[in-house]
Symmetry: C2
Subunit: 302 residues, 2 copies
């Protein structure tokens, strides 16, 4: 998986931090996660071939997560995109986007499909070749969810020397790949699986949790993910403010990361009152050492 | 007057050219003219105190002239703006903006008023202390108009030495300022006006003409303006394309500038196929020497 952060700030942009948008590449698919104003400029600046985006996930209908959508769709159309695109979002977004496209984009060149999120319960919103996406209900001022994107387990590879040594047939190979034990017809012995296959790498997973009040009951849904992005709009100095506005602190994000035993934690969605973001990183690392405060343009292959 | 170009490109942005938006300061008012996606970031980058904007003029409802509006209004609200703001635009924009504000901006902190443009005929859309704005119907694929912003003539200043020399009363001063002749009661002679007043500077004016096919019948409305911005989406190598898409070439913009006898011509709204803009400037200067191809961040006090 490869993650690129296009914007890591909350609603009010600063001179070097744009509002929320990220690109995630996984299993030959490109996902755009949230789409604040300016997303198309950021994609351009960061040399992302945005015509390859095939799914757009929108966490909730606040402007700082969605106002770049129509501009991006319009530019894709001006570039003569023909591949369909799927938007996974609150059902109300479909009405808004379709009416704006009618107003602002002439003769849009590609089909847009919508998958509607229901915010009450976690839901598999997408299940395609190589990857699934699950929604995770969050607690914010409007219906909001996070997303867990999971690579599907790959098949094991059969060892070439085993094929020759045991004279495996196509049928044998299919059975072994499907996990069946294999008995050597010559010796009548069950061959150790490790001698027959190379196990595939462990599937990677990414959880995007923005925006939310501290919500420990999300832990089971993000348990053990390779990478967690958890909003930290505030540091602990503004914990009261976080509570009132239904946001989290860096300390709370790190507590979630620790309890969910994730591989690594990324912090973002900073309030523009913080000029520097070191305070977030330091606060989180006290609880969960493998924490990083991201910036616009942050990239990670994992 | 002071003009700042925030975006000088047409719809499809490039890495260094944003779509249409400009700020014009005149007579203690700040006008935003068009508001493409990213306008709020550009205002920030160019250190414009955008809370001072009191009027927003929108030429037409294509995305590259309007998609930054809701984001900007939302940020103004997050910054606790309380002063009302007026948007001058196609009547349909009011419906779109109000419904989006309901969706995307919680508890907007200031009042938004709309003045509706009727595109059939030129119209004085605004007439306030020190400045008037007239719409100029253009020829594009949707209802579109340009704008002529004019400083209102200032009163002449009475020469201090004349007050002492002739013992002018308040009533005399008001009469002289209003253009009446003044007769010295001692000598009975009519005093030369030049001896009594310093004439105010000639009022400045700015015409914004974007987007339009070549339309020479706008000349009477922009005759003699101090500064003309005329779109030049294409150079003459793509004159056919300009015709099909209802845009203009740099040569056509310069022809309009020459016929209207304007003070200076600015070129912009370039198609993203042009990496450099020298070709526009060179082409226009052949016809109208005082032509400049603008760039994002171009500033002119005139």
């Amino acid at each position: 998986m490869e993650l690129t952060v296009l914007g890591c700030n909350s609603a009010k942009p600063t001179s070097n931090r744009h509002p929320s948008a990220q690109v995630l590449s996984v299993a030959n698919h490109m996902f755009l996660i949230d789409c604040a104003e300016g997303t198309q400029f950021q994609l351009h600046q960061m040399h992302v071939n945005f015509m390859r985006i095939d799914y757009i996930l929108i966490s909730h209908l606040h402007g700082d997560h969605v106002l770049g959508l129509v501009g991006l769709l319009s530019t894709m159309s001006l570039l003569h995109r023909s591949t369909p695109l799927t938007i996974i979002a609150d059902p109300q977004l479909e009405t808004i986007v379709r009416s704006q496209i009618n107003f602002f984009c002439e003769n849009i060149s590609f089909e847009i499909n919508f998958i509607h999120i229901h915010f009450e319960l976690p839901q598999i919103v997408l299940n395609i070749k190589g990857v699934s996406v699950q929604s995770v209900p969050l607690r914010h001022r409007v219906p909001t969810c996070g997303f867990v994107v999971r690579e599907q387990p790959k098949e094991p590879n059969i060892r070439k020397n085993a094929i020759y040594k045991y004279g495996l047939t196509i049928a044998d190979i299919v059975n072994i790949k499907n996990g069946k034990a294999w008995t050597d017809p010559v010796t009548g012995e069950c061959v150790n699986r490790k001698e027959l296959v190379i196990d595939p790498p462990k599937p990677k997973s990414y959880a995007y949790i923005s925006d939310t009040a501290y919500k420990p009951d999300i832990v089971p849904y993000i348990e053990g993910v390779s990478l967690l992005y958890h909003e930290s709009t505030f540091a602990s100095d503004k914990e009261d403010m976080a509570k009132i506005t239904y946001h989290s602190t860096a300390q709370q994000a790190a507590t979630i990361a620790q309890r969910a035993n994730v591989g690594k934690l990324l912090l973002g969605h900073y309030s523009s009152r913080y000029k520097e973001t070191d305070i977030f990183e330091a606060e989180a690392q006290n609880i969960f050492p493998n924490s990083t405060a991201v910036y616009d343009g942050y990239k990670l292959v994992f």
